[in-house]
């Protein structure tokens, strides 16, 4: 069965082939490249499942396949594959979502008669390929390369409708903001390479393992180059540098501003970006190199607080939005905040669990929104909708399943994962790291808001009376829209049972399948979850604390608090927005509404940073360049042409002159060297 690993590179290669095919031959194909993409991603999905099964049976793979800079150099730069439980599971998620998005695109793009489809499917194929390759990267540099490709593809896809005003600008914004974070990431990659001489993720020779031996007082390690810092300080700096890229891609405060604008792209692309590729890449990277972060308590605390704050902050903005995709965009930022919170509080499994469930329900919600948008003839304003549930049953039920999951209502998937995230934050906060309780409190507060905005969105979109003519008579959707929705709708309801921690704790049944899976795999890779919890315990001082009478009470209190708050939020929304003709309540917020609608003026200050500061600096640099540098260059060129002209006259064409010049210069040369060498 291990033979399947030999075919693993094809997981990323297949979508790449579909990219090439769609690019070169897309316009001659019946569905303009869609079929190539669907077949390729189906192949990737099949192979990923085969890999997952193989990994599940206990085989893993960690090999360097190609060395592109090797030999007599301080460190080798390589490509390789790391297939362990984490990457195997992520491969399945990514290829599943990518496959469904390709199918859905048939309905969203082809059936709607869009132009430029070969370009669309080519970008989608490359997007999928680079994300898959990013996931199975075995070292940080390779991960960085594909991370950047993912960023490039998102730029291409967000700006797909480049003839309109909004999309190109949104694409540029996404590109620039994430690029800003990636600068730090790149510096971090170089730092890791120069410090450890390797960027491998896993195994005894991986950089997390090397960092551990350096920090462990009981082992003697080869000295690594820490540029004069204490090792712990320097590693924290490296961790924060890489975190810059993570925060940009995963849209964490203050780099979240690109994501709501990215809604300008086609909706299936939003689904892919939010659920499985671009945004997921950031947090996946933290999980991938968790062995490194687990050693650094300061960085963990930063991650936890950034996550908790982002979760709350984005949720407040989601409350007042009027467009369905905007609400979803802010919910994405908020949910990735939870994942970061989990990673920062030592909940490695919880983080990946929430990543999984979120991938499913957020892809579902976006595709559902896409279906609604098709029906509404591309009007996205929720105040123009209403009453759609009677016209589109499948969409409504699937969307409802996804919404309940997002809101964290028992027993939908989001409940289980969000509960586990908060539980990890709570117990570690209680167990000697009281700082984490602050992050926990923010996460808990966001639960209430999540419940509120999710139910508000459902009510405004599907319930009540139709508030516009298009909502009276929506456009129908076909199987290619309904099929992905149905698959994801069912998954969103049940996928939480992958890891129902409360059931395990209450009944003692071994039902925490995801936890067991992430804990499996050979010890030598050093990527199992118990290895990580050992590290957080030893180096970051995380231990488990409880309230009252022990674990069960803590668990029930935590779950009760989060479910109660979610229900409270949902109930409030239901009370405010039910009925045939819901009224706008956001005006009642007064000045707060203005602040929220303007996203806390985040865009404004970033625009000021770009225009007020950077542009002026660039202007000054430009003046310097035009005046001083160009002046020098122009001067040099006039001088060269003038002296060139003189030199040309040296070439008289008379051979006796040449002979004389040769002999004279030889004599000068001899004279100078005679003087220098002291021949006389």
């Amino acid at each position: 069965m291990a033979g399947v690993f030999a075919y693993a590179p094809a997981i990323a290669a297949l979508p790449f082939v579909s990219f090439v095919v769609a690019l070169l031959a897309g316009k001659y194909m019946p569905k303009k490249g869609a079929l190539a993409g669907i077949i390729a991603t189906a192949g990737s999905l099949g192979l990923s499942i085969a890999v997952l099964v193989t990994v599940f049976l206990g085989e893993t793979y960690n090999e360097t396949l190609y060395t592109f800079v090797g030999g007599d150099v301080p460190f080798e730069l390589t490509f390789g594959l790391l297939l362990d439980p984490l990457s195997a599971a992520m491969l399945v998620i990514v290829s599943l979502i990518a496959f469904l998005v390709h199918v859905f695109s048939l309905g969203y793009m082809n059936d709607e008669g869009e132009t430029g489809l070969p370009r669309y499917y080519a970008s989608l194929g490359l997007f999928t390929a680079s994300m898959l390759a990013f996931v199975f990267s075995d070292n940080l540099l390779m991960a960085f390369m594909f991370f950047e490709l993912v960023g490039l593809c998102s730029y291409l896809l967000i700006g797909f409708w480049f003839r309109r005003a909004g999309p190109p600008s949104a694409a540029k914004k996404a590109f620039l903001v994430t690029r800003f974070g990636d600068y730090f990431f790149l510096v971090g990659v170089v730092g890791v390479l120069t410090t450890f001489g390797t960027a491998q993720f896993a195994g005894e020779n991986g950089f997390p393992a090397l960092a551990e031996t350096v920090l462990n007082p009981e082992t003697t390690a080869d000295a690594v180059n820490t540029f004069g810092f204490e090792p712990a300080t320097w590693f924290a700096i490296l961790g924060l540098l890489v975190l810059g890229g993570v925060m940009g891609k995963s849209a964490q405060f203050p780099f979240h501003t690109w994501l709501p604008d990215a809604m300008e792209g086609p909706t299936p692309v939003s689904a892919l970006i939010h659920a499985a590729t671009m945004v997921a890449a950031g947090v996946f990277l933290v999980a991938r190199m968790y062995g490194f972060y687990a050693l650094l308590p300061t960085v963990l605390a930063v991650i936890a607080f950034v996550g908790g704050f982002t979760a709350l902050f984005a949720a407040t903005m989601g409350v007042v939005k009027n467009e369905i995709k905007q609400v979803l965009a802010y919910s994405t930022i908020s949910q990735y905040g939870y994942i970061m919170l989990a990673l920062g509080t030592g909940g490695y499994v919880a983080a990946f669990f929430h990543l999984t469930t979120h991938a499913v329900f957020k892809a579902l919600l976006f595709l559902g929104a896409g279906s609604v948008i098709i029906a509404m003839h591309h009007n996205e304003n929720m105040w123009d909708m209403g009453g759609l549930k009677d016209h589109m049953r499948v969409t409504y039920l699937a969307f409802l399943s996804g919404s309940l999951a997002l809101a964290g209502i028992f027993p939908f998937s989001g409940f289980w994962s969000k509960d586990e995230v908060l539980y990890e934050a709570l117990v570690h906060g209680l167990g000697g790291s009281p700082l984490l309780l602050g992050a926990y409190a923010m996460g808990l507060a966001a639960v209430f808001l999540t419940g509120f905005y999710t139910i508000r969105m459902v009510l405004l979109t599907f319930h009540g009376e139709a508030r516009s003519d298009t909502a009276e008579d929506p456009h129908g959707v076909r199987w290619n829209v309904k099929f992905p929705l149905a698959v994801l709708g069912i998954l969103a309801a049940v996928i939480g049972f992958l890891n129902p921690l409360p059931i395990k704790k209450l009944t003692g049944l071994e039902v925490d399948f995801l936890h067991q899976f992430l804990d499996s795999g050979p010890e030598a890779l050093l990527t199992s979850s118990h290895h990580y919890s050992g590290l957080t315990h030893d180096y970051a001082g995380y231990s488990v604390g409880t309230i009252g009478g022990g674990e069960i009470v803590t668990l029930l209190a935590g779950a009760g608090a989060s479910l109660g708050l979610a229900l409270l939020g949902a109930g409030l929304a239901f009370a405010l927005y039910r009925g045939a003709e819901p009224t706008r309540h956001t005006e009642k917020l007064g000045g707060l509404q203005t602040l929220l609608m303007h996203n806390y003026y985040q865009d404004e200050y970033q625009v000021w940073l770009a225009e007020g500061l950077t542009l002026r600096l660039s202007g000054a640099a430009d003046t310097f360049d035009q005046g001083v540098i160009d002046g020098v260059v122009n001067g040099v060129s006039s001088v060269s042409l003038f002296s060139g002209d003189r030199l040309r006259r040296l070439q008289t064409g008379i051979v006796t002159n040449y002979a004389a010049l040769i002999v004279l210069s030889l004599l000068v040369l001899l004279g100078v060297f005679a003087a220098l060498g002291g021949w006389f």
Binding site: I662, L670, G677
Partner: protein, 494 residues
Amino acid sequence: MEHVSNWLLLAPAGAFVVSAMLLFVIDSFDPESKHDTLLAAVTTAGAAVAMVISAALLLSGTADSGVELFGGQLVVDGMSLVFTFIFGSVTALVGLASADYIEDLPHKAEYYLLILLAATGMSLMASANSLAVVFVALELASLPSYALVAYLKTNRGSVEAALKYFLVGALSSSILAYGISLIYAATGSLLLPDVAAAAGEASELYTGVFGIGILMVLGGFAFKTASVPFHFWAPEAYEGAPAPVSAFLSSASKAAGFVVAFRVFVVAFPIDSVAGSVDWVLAFQVLAVLTMTLGNFAAATQENVKRMLAYSSIGHAGYVLIALAALTGLGDQGLVLGSGMLHLLVYGFMNTGAFLFVALAEYWNVGRTFRDYNGLGKEAPVACVAMTVFMFSLAGLPVGGGFLSKYFLIVGSVGAGVWWLGAVLAVNSALSLFYYSRVVKAMWIDEPDEPREIERYPTALYVAIVAAAVVTVALLPGILVFDSAAFDAAAALL
């Protein structure tokens, strides 16, 4: 008595000689043959065989440690094979292109014969391990070259250029011969290793004699490489000669001068022993800066494309001189010397290609100046794309191998502590971009003064140009095949 298989190491030179003999035979049976393709084919095939054998020997590592033949008069090692490969490739391209260029001219067999004999001389220069062989081989390469420049017998420019070339050559040869005699006087030997062994003593006892000898030898090589101040012949000879011959001289003949300079100075005059007498590294530094600057500055003001290429060829000689000028004993010296070899390798293709494009333009009679090239891109897009590649690669843009070889030269000089040489190279390359892009602009952007019609597209010339362009581009990644060979060869020499 050497082992028989060692004789096989001379097979590249043998291939040149055998094909030259074959041309003799053909010419004696069938004088003024009408089968011009046969003559070109023999030349090209012989050169290609030499090229393939030397590449095979080089990559197989047979001669990595250097094999001496004829009692040490000749040596075959990595460096000699790298250069024989260059000579083989340039001769093959020139032979192929000449088929069309001299189609209507008499004495074809002699023309090809002279090219092959010159190539033989060059491949002996690459292997010469004694000053006597150096001199004889250099003359074997030079004498056919004079005749080749004068090949267009009825063209006054051609004949005049050849005469000037010959006169300057005679002067330079006499300087070289005199220098050799002084070195023999000071050291008592002509074999390079023996000269090296005696160099320390000689520079103490006969400081002046030995020093003058070394500088005069340097002057002789400066002639062959067209370095300042022995460059005067070059613009005239390259301009007057048939364009394929200019390609041959500026690429292969220059490389031959460099291989001899590399070997003689590195092997026979170890800088540690002779520094007391003459610091030839310093001399090469002066020559490198002068040659780079003069070549590029003069090229910038030319109106005639062929003459611009001639001056640019002088500039490139200056770049390669860095390989000797940066032998300061610091840093990675193998990288320094090897980067010079790599630049000559790449230059062999891109410069030959550029001159062959000029040959094509002469074939079409479009004229000689930049203006005359206006609008050629519309009529001959393939050749103009190739020419664009040559120009940008010569300037050092990353479209061809010229980028990497210049990069290695800069890295080497920085590593050797003479970063200013690298800086001069960079400034000169920037200047060279100006005049190289004038050609590109003329071909693609400017409109022709009067409409012209190109009637014939000569196949062999096209094949040669396209092949040179493909190799130039392929060398950008492909230089990695050669760089370790060149660096190893250089390190073995040091």
